[in-house]
Symmetry: C2
Subunit: 288 residues, 2 copies
């Protein structure tokens, strides 16, 4: 199977699982708002990374699905809250109106809260023998030392002078944390030894940094029709971005350097890491 076919196979399994999530007890309108953002045609990068890392470590593919789903729920919650009028005030995401535009702010806030809470509930109810360790890994990445640190610094520094150390901190928290956790949690679920989990952590970090630098570049230079969202928002909102600090040419080189380091980190896995290697390289192709 080619890497593209593997990615599609992971994605298809995950979509089926997400679509079938019962969300037991949720009032209909809350379930509808949660599903609107959860099932909106995202790339499923976080979930597929977890499934791939779990495969790489020789874990049970079926048993890893609740954790892949949890990562997608956490990602969806962060986007709903990020899009709110009080935050980035975005009205369009992946070509569709954002959650609060469709359901109103109150329900959008609750749908975000509910996706975060349900992510934890699904992991806690999974019955996986490594559930507790994987849950801890994922929730720390989403927490005050991870994604929420990045979000806070991002929101607080709109309009600030370009500062590469600060942008590094924002990108690490906002993006790299939640691209690292799928790799480490996937390996933990598979029972991989600590050295391999740490190799996965390095890979995930570099992939995440490259991914966000490329995202910054695409916001400057991308095609809105292809991206399905409003572009040029970073500049408009005075967001701190990597190219704003180092220029476009250097930003491309930095993204490439991160990808190279990410690929190097995969060395302990040998040939078995072909998929993760290809995934990292494909990140760069988005701006080439």
């Amino acid at each position: 199977m080619s890497e593209k076919e593997m990615l599609n196979a992971y994605k298809a399994r995950l979509e089926t699982y997400l679509d079938a999530l019962p969300m037991t007890g949720a009032p209909d309108k809350l379930r509808e708002a949660m599903r609107y953002s959860l099932l909106n045609g995202g790339k499923r990068l976080r979930g597929c990374l977890l499934l791939a890392a779990n495969d790489l470590g020789g874990g049970d593919a079926e048993a890893a699905l609740p954790f892949a789903a949890a990562l997608e729920m956490i990602h969806a919650y962060s986007l709903i809250h990020d899009d709110l009028p009080a935050m980035d005030n975005d009205t369009l995401r992946r070509g569709k109106p954002t959650n609060h535009v469709v359901y109103g702010e109150a329900l959008a806030i609750l749908a975000g809260d509910a996706l975060l809470t349900h992510a934890v509930e699904v992991m806690a109810s999974s019955g996986h023998p490594q559930a507790f360790a994987a849950l801890g890994e994922i929730i720390r990445a989403a927490g005050v030392g991870g994604m929420l640190a990045g979000q806070t610094l991002d929101v607080m520094n709109e309009g600030a002078e370009p500062d590469i150390a600060l942008v590094q901190e924002i990108h690490q928290g906002k993006t790299a944390a939640l691209l690292t956790a799928p790799v480490t949690a996937g390996l933990i679920l598979a029972g991989a030894e600590k050295a391999l989990v740490e190799a996965g952590r390095s890979y995930g970090y570099h992939l995440g940094m490259a991914f966000q630098i490329v995202d910054d570049l695409l916001d400057l230079e991308g095609d809105p029709a292809l991206m399905g969202k409003t572009l040029g928002k970073d500049v408009e909102e005075g967001k701190l971005t990597w190219p704003a600090c180092v220029g476009v040419a250097q930003a491309r080189r930095d993204a490439e350097a991160h990808i190279n380091q990410g690929v190097e980190a995969l060395a302990p896995f040998g040939e078995k890491a072909a998929f993760l290697r290809a995934l990292a390289l494909s990140t760069l192709h988005r701006v080439q």
Copy 2:
């Protein structure tokens, strides 16, 4: 020790623990916003209930603190988001300006998200042998079949005709779920047998229902100076309340009936449950 002294002792231990929470990695402003709402002089009913249930089951008091703290963090997050302009639009809580009034809406949304996430992180990092089961119990109570169901139905039915079945569902989710979980989780942490955990569940449910009915009555008849919050908001916002459905006199009787059933549920614990019994009875004294 009297029940009042015991409650104060639980509260003091919990306050010390909450005040010392490192919230490692949180940007200063996020930590400040989290602490503003977490350390604002609340009654700590949920946390104290967990410590008392853990004591009742003979559990290690020190080891239960992270779970008592987690309940208080979940409660604080729900209040921050509930007070937002898009939700109840409250500007005063316990005599102080609400979180978004002080820190702005964006940071208030993030502080709420962060308190919920950190609650899970603290439980997942506790090292308690029963951590996973207790975490599951607490997160289900906070989830789409618990607190978030109640919040959603509450927000969606503002201005609706009084409907006792709907109010029952709202109060059960919004209040009783997060007063039940401390009791069941505390007993689980102590390693209590299943029949006792279920007795605790019945106690918590009736305590929670009584507590919310009393809260509805106080919003109608309480003293704003004593309560430290804006009163009469329920009527103003067209909230569905118990007295609006059945009248004030019947609401008092219903609260009393719930307390009696809660006290009965404690029978399997015998004399050891004196504290939980007294706590339930004190709920009624608020409106007597």
